[in-house]
Symmetry: C2
Subunit: 321 residues, 2 copies
């Protein structure tokens, strides 16, 4: 069997887990419990991985620094998930109740805020450039959410709009994670933008697959119900492609523009999307993005870390969860 | 006419305003507009003031640093107000619609998150101790909110519980602001804890007055409706004191414990509280806290800045808005 993409940093990832748990420790036991509930619910740790691998690939040797930065990124990311789930009225994430459903919305908003504070606190001793990356990613995430919100139930959304949304929502934080690792290893590295661009394209591929799994995924694997994006009226690539099919354009437009969506309507929309070539086209698009990502690493010398990132790109587009 | 307490830092406060506006500038124009809407809606700028005055009082000379830190504290504080207003379903703040009412809840949650990022970004070049103060204050704010939430509509709340709540909600961030100023001026200053304790007691006095204004205030001055704490079932000191009056104990307990509060019930509860000695006792308690605060500054040599803080303490307990 082939080693998984992360085998070269398994030790570092396990230290990163511990770093996150240690950082999420408050005087108030319920607050501690809530924050740890979120972070311990799994997740692929792609952001810490990108940071740590990029650091090692660019010649860094003191691995605790990118571990702390990676932990910060993962905690900030988790905090945004908590707030996203409130905004989307999400019930289930990673096979468990979302934080605001397990506790209360009020406490979940506040716990999310606290997680931001913890995340930034993990960045106190790093170069100021890194905090600037996080700010850029945060404002891009907000902007992505805003654009996504503006296109809810709006069927004239284009692939370009969609790419703008997922660049902000997902790819920018991937990019910031990787750049932070590379910059921390060597602020003068020639490869910072390569690594950043790799991670950005990877983020796009990742999100396209994520949105495709909302149509085709097995809830048993993904840990969440399918069709939730449609239920929330979120514009996604499978929908955009399916809307191009003349057989269904009218019906699917009506279904997507309906604000009071019922389960039956979601089921029908899923049926339609699956009957078009949308899913195959999405996976093709994701694979292209993954190849674009990999090409960004061409100038870098070969190493176990470069190989790991290349495998990661393959993993991202082949995953079923 | 006596100079207002802030006259010695008016120039710095005006630079601080500009610093906040400049920092809250994003690629997404709506995001910029939202964040500036919150920060430009006024507020007393007590946190930046505490930071800047403490810095100057402890001998600091490069005033831009505490201005940035003060701006960071004000922005972080404003972000928590945005989220608090969502949690409390607040409609009006400082005489204007709350952010989530003027825009949407989703966008307000996200804009708040972005403001945290901006706040922390303003702290990139400061000593790591400062970021740790912010983290401590953030976790105290969360903890204060949690305890407050647990005591909603619970009439067995005590003054001690209340002080714990407002210490977390308000006083800890006051303390962090002042300590940050003093520490930045001189990390070895003997006065850091004096200044911090002053600000903490000041924060308690401030919040007691705030909660009393919810019973006696003129909406024209305070910029918000009265009785909102009662409507939300929040345990406050005027309520706690009024519950001690045997004439009304039973009736007021029933009113406060009712989860489905009506306007009529709030009006009656306000009537009761005003008919007891609760308001006078609260103001007395606030004045004591303000005196406790002032006493913390006894060891410090006299200066225009010390005088300014002493006047601030008097202002906080005499304000009607």
């Amino acid at each position: 069997m082939v080693d998984p993409w992360h085998s070269c940093i398994d030790k570092e990832l396990s230290i990163c887990e511990q770093t996150m748990m240690d950082a999420l420790q408050f005087e108030n036991p319920e607050l501690t419990e809530m924050c740890r509930y979120v972070v311990s619910s799994g997740g692929k740790r792609l952001r810490p991985s990108l940071c740590i691998i990029s650091y090692l690939m660019c010649g860094g040797t003191d691995v605790q620094t990118p571990i702390n930065i990676g932990a910060a990124f993962e905690i900030v990311h988790s905090a945004t998930l908590v707030h996203d789930d409130i905004n989307d009225q999400g019930e289930i994430r990673r096979g468990r109740k979302t934080l605001h459903r397990e506790y209360t919305t009020t406490k979940a908003i506040v716990a999310g805020d606290c997680m931001f504070a913890v995340g930034y606190n993990l960045l106190v001793d790093v170069k100021s450039e890194i905090v600037r990356y996080v700010l850029e990613a945060s404002s891009a995430m907000a902007s992505g959410e805003f654009v996504q919100k503006d296109y809810e139930h709006v069927s004239r959304v284009t692939e370009k709009d969609y790419l703008k949304i997922i660049s902000g929502k997902t790819a920018k934080l991937f990019e910031a994670s990787a750049k932070s690792g590379a910059y921390t290893a060597d602020p003068d590295s020639d490869y910072i933008s390569n690594v950043g661009n790799f991670a950005h394209e990877l983020g796009l591929a990742f999100q396209i697959v994520d949105d495709t799994l909302d149509v085709t995924g097995d809830p048993h694997n993904t840990g969440k119900a399918i069709g939730t994006d449609l239920l929330e009226g979120k514009p996604t690539l499978p929908l955009i492609y399916a809307l191009e099919d003349p057989r269904y354009k009218e019906e699917l437009t009506a279904l997507f523009e309906e604000v009071d969506v019922t389960t039956d309507m979601v089921v029908r929309a899923l049926e339609i999307i699956r009957d078009t070539d949308a899913v195959e086209r999405c996976l093709q698009r994701a694979r292209e993005k993954a190849e674009d990502a990999k090409a960004m690493l061409d100038p870098l010398p070969d190493s176990v870390y470069k190989q790991s990132l290349l495998s990661l790109a393959d993993y991202v587009v082949s995953r079923d969860r």
